[in-house]
Subunit: 233 residues, 2 copies
DNA sequence: AACCTACAGGTTGTTGAACAATCCAGCAAG
DNA sequence: CTTGCTGGATTGTTCAACAACCTGTAGGTT
């Protein structure tokens, strides 16, 4: 017996629809620039010349400008009229603001640990495990990367696509600052253990305790980062 | 005795620097379209033709496309490759997600009422007062506007520019949905009184109580909105 | 009648070139 | 040392063109 596609099949397909809404050249250029900015290839303060970059990537100025607009809205670039596009130089106030935002988002999300689905809680634990392995291997670049995954997973406890998006951008912005930590081991090592404690509290659905630990964590990290950041300027 | 500008004067000026970083044509076009979309001139689902709008506004396609990119990033428009720009049709899940975000942000901000500066707390009260006056005058469009101001002011208690920005965008997105409330009086009138209670709690620095009231408020509003929204589809 | 194919028309994606507006560094004059 | 000017370089904006793609339609096949 042959039948047509059912309503359920259609619903299943529609979930993957965003994957199909492919990307254009401008999006690809933006992604490329985003990586380079976050990796520190273009240090803060760099001016991103339209002509130079357009020629290097082989795209026209108009397309490049579209890509720049995207980055500007993610705050990974700043636009000054008639002066061009610059890699932002974050101030201490920006760092403070970003941590205010993180405390609000991550703290609130952690508090909802009990209500979050098990898969979301397991993702938090998985990120910590990966960080521990990277730490044991001495790969501090990977530790940093997994640390960001951890916090992304914490925010995901809120179960909100918009919060996920927001968190992604906030962490990307913070990455611009992390480069001042010339000694990643010293900065990240102590936090691996603290992440584990937080992950455990989340896994056991003790949201209140997880939030408390997390807020203390974020305040310490902010303090350390500000100290290193102020000294570097 | 004549002296040059002091360091303090320079610091004062640098604060106003963003005001100087003027706006270009693309930004102005984006602002214009943003208003029209939020006012409901372009109902959800409308396709925003590049040629039609470009001709109507007298700007070139390239400039218009820059404006579209901005709107897309604010989620006031969606871009489908090779198909164009559309006014988004929010699903019920979007509404749920937006209220999740609001509870996280506004709730967390309200909790910090005691730590917020007096000016921020007064802004909350001022918004309620304005809403009351508009309500007494029967101007329900103004009531809706002041209601949004109120929630913006609550989020501002967090004292974070990034949170302010986020809140502005979330409320703009929600406005796309509010148009289904054909009877604004019935929707908004009860909330004016509840806003007043919340504002009073914030003003008296009782953050915990304010948060509780606010969360209840948001849940009721979400429920009502979802009911009207589901029925309209 | 239902399904597939091919074609034509319209829209978007991307490029290149051009000109106006603006900024910046350097130099001259006070 | 400051002020005013000037030339070169970069960005802002527009226009025109073509390629790539989607959509609806007409016609043929089963």
């Amino acid at each position: 017996m042959r039948v047509g596609v059912t309503e359920g099949m259609v619903a299943r397909l529609e979930q993957d629809r965003p994957l199909l809404a492919q990307i254009g050249t401008a999006d690809r250029v933006a992604a490329l620039l985003r990586d380079n900015i976050m990796e520190g290839v273009f240090p803060p303060g760099t001016r991103l010349s339209e002509e130079a970059i357009g020629q290097a990537l082989g795209v026209s100025r108009n397309t490049l400008r579209e890509a720049f607009r995207l980055l500007c809205h993610e705050r990974l670039a700043v636009h000054e009229l008639n002066r061009g596009i610059f890699v932002p130089v974050l101030t201490s106030e920006d760092v403070v603001d970003l941590y205010r935002l993180r405390r609000l988002i991550e703290g609130g999300a952690a508090r909802m640990a009990a209500a979050a689905p098990a898969t979301a809680r397991r993702a938090v634990v998985a990120a910590v495990t990966a960080a521990e392995q990277a730490s044991a291997a001495g790969d501090w670049e990977a530790v940093r990367s997994e640390d960001l995954h951890f916090h992304q997973a914490v925010a995901a406890l809120a179960g909100s696509p918009r919060v996920d998006d927001l968190m992604r951008r906030a962490l990307a912005e913070l990455r611009l600052v992390f480069h001042v930590m010339t000694d990643p081991e010293r900065f990240h090592r102590p936090f691996v253990a603290r992440n584990k404690v937080i992950a455990h509290l989340i896994d056991s659905q003790d949201g209140a305790a997880a939030e408390k630990e997390l807020l203390a964590y974020l305040e310490d990290a902010e303090r350390q980062l500000l100290a290193a950041y102020g000294a570097s300027q």
